[in-house]
């Protein structure tokens, strides 16, 4: 197993700049998710680490060694694709053992390692079955088996759960994370699904238009987003954004929203008057008659334990998460306020998060 270091990586396809100076480190044994919308450059980044694409500029180090120009076969990594291409004419045992056969490993050793991989993945009972009759989850386990049987330096996975339905995906998320905890293999995992990233990753790198916008723990990504894009992309429903215009002094504890002062975490930088955005997570919106923002209930979405209430205000439609036991009437006029210690402020022009006391708690970079 090994550390993966990506330094100032760039990739252009003709005039299209797919990856722009991406840098991050995956420590030995860590699980990193590359997360972003389609077209953000996450798969291209993964393919460069794998050696399936050559970078236009930048370096990739595996366990300290510069492998930027090495062939894929010389990198000692295992790649798991979204569409698990199993050999339909081979049974499970032969599918899993195939990479070892290619490496010229003898039959006895092959057998031992296939059995071990099957035990780890809990598919020992399927070893002599044909792969064509297997359910989606089991097929994906076989594909994983083929990756882990080689004991590579690291695993690269490209949306391996994308083709599974919700329930199977949730089960596989737990399984993949448990597998990672057992093997301790350095893993880079590409997904556009925030739930997969939040549930599995030690660290998440959020990408947008080829740029790595933030690399941090799932908790920091959610609680301390570095940019408007990250704040908007993570969270379901996403963060509420209230535009306003104000200047900021270092040490300030409030901002001026309309005619009211809103308490926020202490500001750590000064800013001339500019267009700003107040970011509020739906679970940090509280209902109170003294609220600083008033609005009309547009509708509520029942989710069992909780509900999402949409309120039309002068700042646009705001969403609040509340216990399902409270009932709201459509059209009802209500007051809202926000939990001060959790609020983010962004510079609208650049999208950058303004430094406040909130960001001191985490490993914000």
């Amino acid at each position: 197993m090994a550390q993966i270091r990506v330094e100032a990586l760039n990739k252009s396809f003709g005039t299209f700049h797919a990856v722009k100076t991406a840098s991050f480190t995956v420590e030995d044994g860590q699980f990193l998710c590359l997360l972003g919308p389609s077209g953000c450059g996450k798969t291209t980044t993964l393919r460069m680490i794998a050696g399936l694409e050559l970078p236009t500029a930048g370096t990739i180090r595996l366990g300290g060694e510069d492998v930027t120009m090495n062939r894929a076969s010389e990198r000692d990594i295992a790649f798991v694709f979204q569409l698990f291409a199993l050999y339909p004419h081979l049974n499970v045992r032969r599918n899993i053992g195939f990479p070892l056969k290619c490496e010229g490993i003898n039959a006895a050793e092959r057998e031992r390692r296939v059995e071990e991989a099957a035990r780890i993945l809990r598919i020992s009972h399927l070893l002599d079955r044909s792969v064509s009759g297997l359910a989606g989850g089991d097929r994906q386990r076989v594909a994983l088996g083929r990756a882990i049987v080689r004991k590579p330096k690291c695993f690269l996975m490209d949306e391996p759960l994308g083709a599974l339905d919700t329930e199977m995906r949730e089960a596989m998320i737990r399984e993949l994370r448990a597998l990672h905890d057992r093997l301790g293999a350095t893993t880079v995992y590409v997904t556009h699904d925030q739930l997969e990233a939040m549930a599995m990753a030690d660290r998440i790198a959020v990408m947008n238009h080829g740029v790595v916008e933030q690399v941090a723990s799932p908790r920091d990504i959610y609680d301390r987003p570095a940019s408007l894009f990250v704040a908007d992309f993570i969270g379901s429903p996403p963060m509420n954004f209230l535009p306003f215009r104000d200047s900021l002094q270092a040490g300030a504890r409030t901002v001026r929203l309309g005619e009211r002062d809103v308490a926020i975490p202490a500001v750590r930088e000064a800013l001339p008057e500019s267009d700003l955005v107040l970011g509020v997570r739906p679970e940090h919106v509280r209902f109170t008659d003294q609220g600083m923002v008033r609005g009309e209930v547009y509708g509520s979405e029942y989710l069992g334990t909780t509900q999402i209430v949409t309120v039309t205000t002068r700042y646009g439609a705001l969403k609040a998460r509340s216990p399902a036991s409270i009932s709201f009437r459509t059209g009802e006029n209500i007051g809202l306020d926000f939990r001060p210690d959790t609020l983010s402020i962004f510079d609208k022009q650049s999208g950058r998060a303004i430094r406040t006391a909130l960001y001191e708690g985490g490993a914000h970079g």
Partner: protein, 335 residues
Amino acid sequence: MAEVEIRAVSKAFGQTRAVSELSLTVSDGEFVALLGPTGAGKTTTLRLVAGLETPDSGSIRIGGRDMTGDAPADRDVAFVFQQYSLYPHLTVFENMAFALRAPIRRVPEAEIRAKVHEVARMLHIETKLDNKATQLSGGQMQRVAIGRALVRSPSIYLMDEPLSSLDAKLRGEMRLELKRIQTDLGATILYVTHDQTEAMTMASRIGVIEAGRLMQIGTPREIYENPVNAYVAARLGQPAINLLPAGLFAGLPPAAKTIGARTEHLTIVRGGGDVAATVTRIEHLGDQSHLHLDLGGLPVVTLSDPEANLGAGDVVSLCLNKPLFFDAAGGRVAV
């Protein structure tokens, strides 16, 4: 729009019974979601209503008329598939107008134009009408596919996982929009999904389907709060309901073999509760944190109170608060 009635419909493919004795009525203007895992028979049910499959027994009535033997074209239904198969060489406008241009419909050109623009406005794609269908993002293509159905005024819209190929954010936005459009139009919709959030947030009623059988039908709240059996109980709720052996707790109804405990049925205290459990992991999912507990070797997952400050290894105590009970066969035990 019209009422659609499925009466005791069965359909087998060879040895596999895809749909068994399924009965369901979708009232005029109602949004019914069929919820179940892959292979439960949801899509087959939809195809039976559309006339793309013929039932082995039972009947399909649309607007009071028996349509069981009628061809799809005679049923006046609009189908939205998971894979938006748009005509790549046509513009968005032409794709949406296509169904109205069918010779048998003879819709006047001015009316086609008005209808397409109205629906495009509803779906926020009016600026894309002159684009080629292939120049759109996935979310926009799916809007066009839905738009192609909405320009018609059929008896019922049949939708087969129309949002499942979209990313999470877009899916969330489309849920709200689709629900709003359905309400505004008073549209009758039968909607198939394996996503509980889609079913809960959009449907007036949810039908939970398993192995070709309709297990329960009711409002999202009824299904969530009052499931008829353990299977249905496990379909809704995040984190999923914990199903625990009755022996762990004292004072339960005699018939109860399994306790169904959702987050709201569990109170976590530092000491003095009914049973002790050890915190194994706290999973921060952003808006919620899942607290993973080990209760005598059994995993229990509940929502973690962000203020509780628990960590792995902490020993806590659990109290039950009006949980659900199930008998040996999984059926609900009344309290």
